[in-house]
């Protein structure tokens, strides 16, 4: 196992520009490519959210230049109701798939898994390259839907059938828009399967000498668990979208029952099941939530440990808890369907595992907080985002108590309470995890330091901003404000418009704050201070190699690992830490049996 680390993944350094920067086999380049894709996608997703928020606050407001994006969707620069839904669907799709899956998992995972395991590269570099380029094609296909036919689909990222399966008769974007959406997601699934098929064997088979599974750092454990989830959930979504496409182009009726009438026309379908789509989708959809958040948990733990100068209270409990989240995530998906019309007994059955999932989540939060006890926390942009992540995850987590219960979902299902819940957990917390990882690993990935003061300003304004955006949404939900409405014409929702206007202002402000990050990122990338090998006095293997790492990571060195990943708070020749590959003996008080 250990010797194969150097044999299996060996390939020479590239010489041409194309092999070096475009069709690269190097996991580090692929990781950066994924990161770049995530950045572009998050920018698109954010601009789309701005458009949505402006429309929700001031429905008849003209947004200068919007007609350039769609003449029919925004005549006179004012969004039509259907265009709002199309923008909303694309916001969610870009964010969930091309940001929250791509950045914390595929980008950081690609860059750091081989380094954390002490390998030269991934076991299947060609597959790895294909993984990125397949995902890139999926991204381009999804973008295409803005410009083809009557625009993107308006069915939401969940694409509930039969709205999604009936074709153009169901509304704008429901013909070519849905087919493009489903094609893109199908391609995306293939890309992620290629990725997971590299990550898992790398972690299992390409570990260097001395690197037992328990000596893997927490982010690598998180990526391992996430890969297993990706492998088993994307492989369900992929056939589901194929069936959806067949309903459009091959005259099948997987998701469309008989006797549906639209525009006084009986639809030529029979025998399908609308709930089948929901089961298939959420069997993927709930693990996907954890695919977005578990890497963040690993990254945040890694950043915190380095900045606390002590290990987590228990490395193993963290790993077991993340594993428990992954296993339970398959048993809870029905909580998205409590009022869907499935058997009400199933709602009860899905409710208990959903409540159960609060236990590993609470354990993780308590281990984080308990580990802060007695620490010497260094405050920098990376650690602030990590600590902010904990606060956001707690806030998002407690609203889960409500949504785990079918009886309370009678009030809160499909309201802004749900929007607040999932944004705090899988969206904003996960994005804070990405920021934390970026400020922390930027020196290693690009060989230069980021400006920490700008990073801190970015943190403060973002932290306050996201609470201002999402906290009031809980109250809107309690008042019965339904989500996915382009405006609020229902009598009892009209008094809530003022709250929506407040949220819009907060969203525009928080979005604008991200320009500080973009500036810092670009400026530091080219003109930042050159980074030392180990700027944070870290212990894991990425800090024992140059910044940025050479082509084969370890410069031909056969790495041997002697310690657990987090030997902090000890006495050693280097200070209060001992690196994983240092043969120096330490009093490993924190080593678990």
């Amino acid at each position: 196992m250990h010797d194969s680390a150097h044999a299996a993944a060996h390939h020479g350094p590239p010489t041409s520009f194309i092999r070096k920067h475009v069709f690269s086999l190097d996991h580090k380049v692929i990781g950066k490519q994924y990161y770049g894709l995530g950045l572009v996608a998050v920018f698109i997703g954010m601009v789309l959210s701005w458009l949505m928020r402006i429309h929700l606050g001031w429905t008849n407001a003209a947004i200068p230049g919007l007609h350039l994006l769609s003449k029919t969707g925004a005549p006179g620069d004012v969004m039509t109701p259907e265009y709002y839904l199309q923008v909303m669907t694309m916001h969610a799709t870009f964010m969930v798939f091309f940001v929250l899956t791509v950045a914390p998992f595929a980008a950081f995972g690609n860059f750091f898994i081989p380094i954390h395991t002490g390998a030269e590269d991934m076991p299947f570099p060609h597959f790895n390259m294909m993984s990125f380029w397949t995902t890139f094609v999926a991204f381009c296909v999804m973008l295409l839907s803005f410009f083809v036919g009557d625009g993107p689909t308006l069915g939401g990222w969940t694409q509930y059938a039969p709205l999604s399966a009936l074709g153009p008769v169901a509304g704008p974007g429901q013909g070519s828009g849905v087919i493009i959406w489903a094609t893109s997601i199908g391609i995306f699934c293939v890309g992620q399967l290629f990725g997971a098929l590299n990550f898992i064997p790398n972690i299992l088979d390409l570990r260097c000498k001395g690197m037992s599974m328990w000596r893997l750092p927490l982010p690598t454990w998180a990526w391992f668990i996430t890969s297993c989830m990706g492998l088993t959930s994307f492989s369900v979504l992929m056939p589901a979208v194929v069936l959806l496409i067949l309903d459009h182009v091959a005259g099948t009726s997987f998701f469309v029952p008989s006797n549906l009438v639209i525009n006084d026309q009986l639809q030529p379908h029979s025998g399908g099941s609308t709930l089948l789509w929901q089961h298939l989708f959420w069997f993927f959809g709930h693990p996907e939530v954890y695919i977005a958040i578990v890497p963040g948990m690993g990254i945040v733990s890694h950043v915190l440990i380095t900045n606390m100068r002590k290990p987590m209270l228990s490395h193993r409990v963290m790993v077991y808890s993340m594993g428990a989240l992954a296993v339970l995530s398959y048993m809870v998906y029905g909580h998205h369907m409590f009022v869907s019309g499935m058997n009400p007994v199933s709602s009860i059955l899905f409710s208990f595992p959903t409540l159960l999932i609060t236990i590993p989540s609470t354990i993780i939060v308590l281990i984080w907080i308990g580990s802060l006890y007695g620490a010497k926390i260094r405050i920098n942009a990376a650690s602030l985002f990590a600590l902010g992540f904990i606060s956001l995850f707690i806030t998002g987590g407690v609203s889960g108590f409500f949504l785990a219960q079918p009886s309370i979902q009678i009030l809160l299902h499909a309201t802004y309470f749900v929007v607040a819940h999932f944004h705090f957990t899988m969206a904003i917390a996960a994005i804070f995890g990405i920021f934390s990882g970026t400020y922390f690993w930027f020196p290693k990935m690009w060989g230069r330091m980021m400006n920490d003061t700008l990073g801190k300003i970015h943190f403060w304004l973002s932290f306050i901003g996201v609470y201002a955006i999402f906290m009031p949404m809980h109250y809107l939900g309690l008042a019965g404000n339904v989500r996915r409405y382009q405006s609020f014409v229902v009598d009892y929702m009209q008094p809530l418009i003022g709250v929506h206007q407040f949220i819009t202002i907060a969203a525009l402000f928080t979005g604008a704050v991200q320009l500080i990050f973009i500036y810092n990122f670009i400026h530091s990338r080219f003109w930042g201070e050159p980074a030392p090998d180990n700027p944070w006095q870290g212990t894991s293997l990425e800090w024992s190699i140059p910044s940025p790492p050479p082509h084969d990571n370890f410069g031909g060195r056969h790495v041997v690992v002697y310690h657990d990943p987090y030997q902090y708070g000890v006495q050693s020749s280097t200070g209060d830490y001992v690196m994983q590959d240092s043969p120096e003996k330490v009093n490993t008080v924190n080593e678990e049996p």
Binding site: P81, L163, P344, I390, M471
Partner: protein
């Protein structure tokens, strides 16, 4: 800066809790017989979630305040009792908390879904379609006529596809665009969709149920207060989703009888 951060978390936690403690934001007044159980469940959960939220945020803020910065001469310390105590606390405290919520929640759910409607419940049919609800009352014969999907025609205002020429049961059926029900009288709601998925959401009545194309679903409830409420669609159904709503009037028995007669005359 760590102390400022700790204070920020504290302030955010307190500001977030104020509207809940002062009850500024709450669901609309319940006007159903089964809603109290849901409201009690919501209120219990609010307490438990509120305590978890405030205590975790405050602990986080406190530890950040207390344990930040390099304090020379001081060694890092481990939380008393290590991970075991915290894991046990999470399993026992949170486990008991969520299972209690789960079990009481089953009671509230069962009261709605696992008890059959009474024999004298008034049947009302609701059909959802892009982007309107239509309601049907069985008329004096007490039975609904069959639906012929191929005869559904909005152009001819035959929303249910009824064949009043041939079907005896359809002749006295009353189809309306607004729903009215008698107060304190159990209603048996028969739900179906003519096209895509929709939902029947009436916050005041504590009712929320999706329409599933291809599936006939039933709900039953009793309204306890005369008034005018809104039924809204909460399942994304297309471009007019936001505008898919209908009024529900809860009337005295006399007013309801009069209303129904008036509607019958309009058919």
């Amino acid at each position: 800066m760590a102390k400022l951060f700790a204070v920020t978390i504290l302030v955010i936690a307190i500001i977030s809790a104020i509207p809940i403690i002062r009850n500024t934001w709450h669901p609309v007044e319940d006007v159903s017989t089964h809603g109290q159980a849901i409201d009690d469940q919501l209120s219990d959960t609010m307490w438990e979630a509120g305590i978890s939220f405030l205590s975790s945020q405050l602990l986080l803020a406190w530890f950040i305040w207390r344990f930040s910065g390099d304090r020379p001469g001081e060694k890092t310390k481990t939380f008393p009792g290590g991970a075991k105590g915290l894991v046990a606390a999470a399993i026992i405290l949170v486990g008991v908390e969520v299972f209690a919520l789960g079990i009481f929640g089953v009671k509230a759910w069962a009261a709605i879904y696992f008890t059959p409607p009474g024999a004298d419940a008034l049947p009302v049919q609701v059909q959802a379609g892009q982007f309107a609800f239509y309601f049907r009352y069985p008329g004096p014969d007490g039975s609904f006529g069959p639906i012929h999907p191929d005869q559904i025609s909005e152009a001819q205002a035959n929303f249910y596809g009824l064949d009043t020429t041939h079907d005896q049961d359809s002749k006295d059926d009353i189809v309306t665009a607004e729903m009215a029900i008698p107060v304190n009288h159990e209603i048996r709601l028969l739900m179906h969709s003519k096209d895509v998925s929709h939902s029947f959401y009436v916050p005041a009545l504590r009712i929320h149920q999706d329409f599933v194309p291809g599936l006939d679903l039933q709900l039953h409830f009793t309204a306890t207060k005369v008034g005018r409420y809104e039924i809204v669609c909460s399942q994304l159904c297309g471009l007019g989703h936001y505008n898919m709503k209908a009024y529900l009037s809860v009337l005295s028995q006399q007013d309801f009888d009069d209303w129904l007669k008036k509607q019958a005359a309009l058919q």
